[in-house]
């Protein structure tokens, strides 16, 4: 196993624009959450957005970029189209040092801008740095078991699965398959819950997965509470502990809670001068955590590494690290 983490998810190019509260209301989206939209609806929302910035994203892809930025070895699996955004995504993730060998899906020329292509995530960022997202998955939606190369999965100490993919029936099979391959080869499986609506849609299946296919679980407060049908964070963490898995719950500016053999441990957030854009905070927390886990750190140290990486990414627009995370972690005494 020569790779620390193999991530599987939807390759997306983020289209970021700052927006007023009125802009969010007008868009019909739910503030702070992610909604899946079709190509036409994506065009509508895009048309109402201000000047935007395009930057590679995708939840699991962001996490893999973070692992690589810490000096870890990572690979990514997901489907892009043979178009400009597909080339942008491929360039960007490779240039962070992540292995990515896609077979781009050919796209027909439709001329109306709505032919299936590489997925896009429209990100509306409000003044407080909160992001509201509308994702058009494009060809990422076609991920199927045959798209997950077994030899690559076998090389990973941890296989990291993006919860968002549970919205896509063939992708579910692909992820279950990847989890089984990993376990057969002594790898571990980590799952990110991704989004509270996603948890609501798939609560039963996620709980089933935890029983035999998942070793490490990531979620924020809302997601964990919803997953376990708990009435409070404390009860949610209690339920998480009972699963026996390694569970990390992110709590925004209050830091994170992680399960350990001696009970749940709280880890504070790293102070951030100016929160610009929270996109990628959870993804980068997972990156730091997974890097720690594959480099002998205990759960508390893993969560500290996660908190540090999250603090870097919310200080600027875009969901991938811009600073040298390895250097930051080393200066913070975490490496």
């Amino acid at each position: 196993m020569d790779l620390d983490v193999v991530g599987i998810g939807s390759p997306l190019v983020d289209v970021l624009a700052t927006t007023s509260e009125e802009g969010i209301s007008r868009s019909g989206l739910t503030r702070g959450s992610m909604m899946l939209v079709d190509a036409l609806r994506a065009e509508e929302i895009y048309g109402s957005m201000g000047p935007a910035t395009e930057v590679s994203g995708g939840s699991a892809a962001n996490t893999m970029a973070g692992v690589a930025a810490l000096g870890g070895s990572a690979a990514f699996v997901g489907k892009v189209a043979d178009d400009v955004l597909g080339r942008v995504f491929t360039h960007d993730i490779r240039s962070t040092g992540v292995q990515f060998d896609p077979v781009p899906v050919p796209v027909p020329v439709s001329g109306d801008g709505t032919s299936p292509g590489t997925g896009r995530c429209l990100v509306l960022v409000t003044d407080d740095g909160e992001r509201t997202m509308a994702t058009h998955l494009g060809v990422a939606i076609t991920l199927a078991p045959g798209d997950v190369p077994e030899p690559l999965v076998q090389r990973g100490r941890i296989v990291y699965l993006e919860g968002y993919l549970w919205d896509l029936p063939p992708a579910k099979d692909a992820l279950r398959h990847a989890a089984d391959v990993a376990h057969r080869h002594d790898g571990s499986v980590a799952l990110s819950l991704s989004d509270s609506f996603c948890v609501e849609r798939h609560q039963r299946e996620f709980l089933d997965l935890l029983v035999d296919r998942v070793d490490v679980l990531f979620g924020n407060e809302q997601e964990i509470v919803r997953l376990f049908g708990a009435r409070s964070l404390d009860l949610g963490v209690e339920a998480a502990e009972e699963t026996g898995l390694l569970v990390a719950v992110t709590l925004g500016d209050r830091g994170a809670v992680v399960t350990t053999p001696r009970g749940p441990v709280e880890v504070p957030a790293f102070p951030v001068d100016d929160v610009v854009d929270t996109t990628g905070a959870g993804d980068l927390f997972a990156a730091g955590f997974l890097f720690g886990l594959t480099h002998g750190a205990d759960p508390e140290r893993c969560a500290q590494l996660g908190a540090l990486c999250a603090s870097e990414v919310i200080g600027h627009l875009g969901a991938r690290p811009q600073e040298d995370l390895r250097d930051l972690a080393s200066r913070a005494g975490l490496l």
Copy 2:
């Protein structure tokens, strides 16, 4: 004439990445300048760049976005392809309030990423905020007289021409034609020298243009010195004065010099806490200057407005304003 400014130039999407000094040397580019490259060379340079951010650019287009952000009325003319980057460019400039009605050029599907498409400008940004650029013009190179709509040009109080276009023979005719149309309808013509190598390549033609087709000239120190074959800035400004045109010379962090009836006047730069990326500084100087000129300001006030707009754009990555320029100008007592 219901439009303040009609800008003509190359629509480009900027592909920005931070780079080390070694990265600049390896790229074979000249630090601080712009080089035109073909599709293959563009792919090569892109391949060696780190993770990038895509954001709409193009010199004259940036200027028009700035005029609109100040509350002026502006239109832009230039050629985009019927591809993702063309739609990105069109969305972004329209959402700033600039009128842009392109006829997108169809593109064949080649699959190798090198088919002609919407132009791209690869921008390598070093620690000091300096930018080194490689531009692949794509379909922008096909701009010809027939692409410049006369009725639109007639509506502009000022027609603003991008010097970069002088590298393209059919575009030259398009710009000469636009200048003649403007003058026939009592409009003025402004020219940006764009780049010192561009001035070197076209010195004779630019000097000829000044005689009868240009009323307002923009250039930085290097460009003005080179245009007039002067041995110092002072001699360059003296030569500029002798043309009888309104000439504005930008001097980076030393501000600008502008010709006035009572001789050249120096205007200081606005202080900037942290210079992140100088891309667009000259373009936004021109925006503030042109807005002033079409709203009754004297040359000194025009240059102050230019300096203010330039100071905003160098404080962040990307060549278009992110703050409300009208509000900034008003708080600075310039409106």
